[in-house]
Symmetry: C2
Subunit: 279 residues, 2 copies
């Protein structure tokens, strides 16, 4: 784990690292924000999974999360959205497949399977690495994300009962097996057996019996991808069917951008902080 | 004045406009954030002048100012850093001269003088336009900025007694007549008579008798441009010499980036809000 940036922000430190990923078989980059409290004790962590086309850089520059993390004493762990590099499969003509579009799943089909193991990466390899190297309380973590990363946060939480104290999402892809973005990635990474896709679909996981955990979702009514790609109603219906507590908030007029995330990131941090208290 | 973007943020609206500038003789772009209060009444305005290479977009995406403006009921007016366009003089090999580097002065030398009238633009044309077209309280405004824009904020305030309620700056160029960035722009835009440059230098203006107003400056000790370009000591010394109240804060380890701005923008908004109360 090599530190490549070290920037003071809101009293803490925004660091960027590279390391050789055993899961993804390539060099991976990620950022961590350590709040001021981390200089004297270990702190809990909130993972933020980003959306299509993003790297770890978008959220740290645009979301304005660091000031809340500083005040609440929570670290932010911000992974990349896919494996990267010259030897890594890609579809350079598409923004929604390949590099920048890992979809937080474990690919089973080549040429993707050799590197696209983002689910194992964000749920296992990265937590083990940062908990060993940084002042984080082992195992005390929550997860959030935006769009494709909101999907990622939801499936990571639903597939790992007990691993996350809480989960939230901004405009998540709630039912990827039934939208263009999801179908494009799942068919490439997993093949044509749609039954196999359900293991990576938040709505299908809830229907199949996922264990409840504190769950907050914000969705803008002015989101340009709401009708075609996000399908929050499918997830809300599945939660209601199983009597799973969900806080689902339609936010009037907000779009899909980081201006939407910036508007509510403070409330998401406060939500996770309530579930990350270690005392 | 043509609205080209309209994005909900923190309960208010982040709008972007273009218009044909009479000062700059070209189409200019700027952004305005209107807080929720502006839907029912007129509000005061804080102008934010950006630094070298920036447009109006950097601050609205990276500074995290909108949430504070929303809470405090203050509009943010975010102009571009120079005239732009095919017919506008430029030095495409340099980031610190020409387009993106207007320096908030009125150029007197060609080929710059035809368009580079950014001082008149930000102090006269733009306020008149937005006060006529948007729910802003006429004449009730303050000003801030970053780096070259911090210099801009300081000279706009010092050269216009009574026009701004308060001024602040992040890592401003405090004495441009004595640094590379300043000398490069001032010699091109104003010619070789260094005496004429002093009318556009915050330190020189203070020495020459500028009227005090509430003044806050933040500067990071880890700023990579501190030693060569910014020279805050010259301005602080000039203020102390004249017994002008200044809040000057050296902030340990912070660099020149928007991560520094984001760390203190809330305190700057609160500072200006205290001086923008209209009740």
């Amino acid at each position: 784990m090599r530190q490549i940036e070290h920037i003071k922000e809101s009293g803490g430190w925004l660091n960027r690292y590279t390391h050789d990923s055993a899961c993804c078989h390539c060099e991976m980059t990620f950022s961590v924000y350590l709040p001021p409290a981390a200089s004297t004790r270990k702190v809990p962590a909130l993972y933020f999974l980003s959306g299509l086309t993003c790297t770890d850089d978008n959220v740290r520059v645009k979301a304005g999360a660091q000031r809340y993390a500083a005040a609440l004493g929570i670290a932010l762990v911000m992974p990349d959205t896919s494996p990267r590099g010259e030897g890594v499969a890609d579809d350079p003509d598409r923004y929604d497949l390949g590099q920048g579009a890992g979809f937080y799943i474990n690919a089973t089909c080549e040429p993707w399977a050799s590197h696209y193991q983002m689910y194992d990466y964000v749920t296992r390899e990265l937590p083990a690495l940062v908990e060993a190297e940084l002042p984080l309380i082992p195992g005390l973590k929550s997860i959030t994300g935006h769009s494709m990363g909101g999907h990622g946060a939801l499936i990571c939480a639903f597939k790992n009962p007990g691993a996350y104290q809480s989960v939230s999402a901004f405009a998540p892809i709630c039912n990827p097996v039934n939208c263009g973005w999801g179908e494009g990635c799942l068919s490439a990474y997993l093949g044509d057996d749609r039954e196999a896709w359900n293991a990576w679909d938040a709505t299908a996981l809830v229907k199949a019996g996922a264990k409840p955990l504190p769950l907050l979702i914000d969705q803008g009514t002015g989101d340009e991808f709401l009708a075609e790609q996000l399908h929050p109603r499918a997830l809300v219906d599945a939660c209601l069917e199983r009597n799973i507590p969900i806080q689902f908030r339609m936010q009037e007029d907000y779009d899909h951008s980081y201006h939407f995330i910036a508007s509510f990131i403070g409330e998401h941090l406060a939500f996770h902080a309530r579930h990350l208290q270690s005392d």
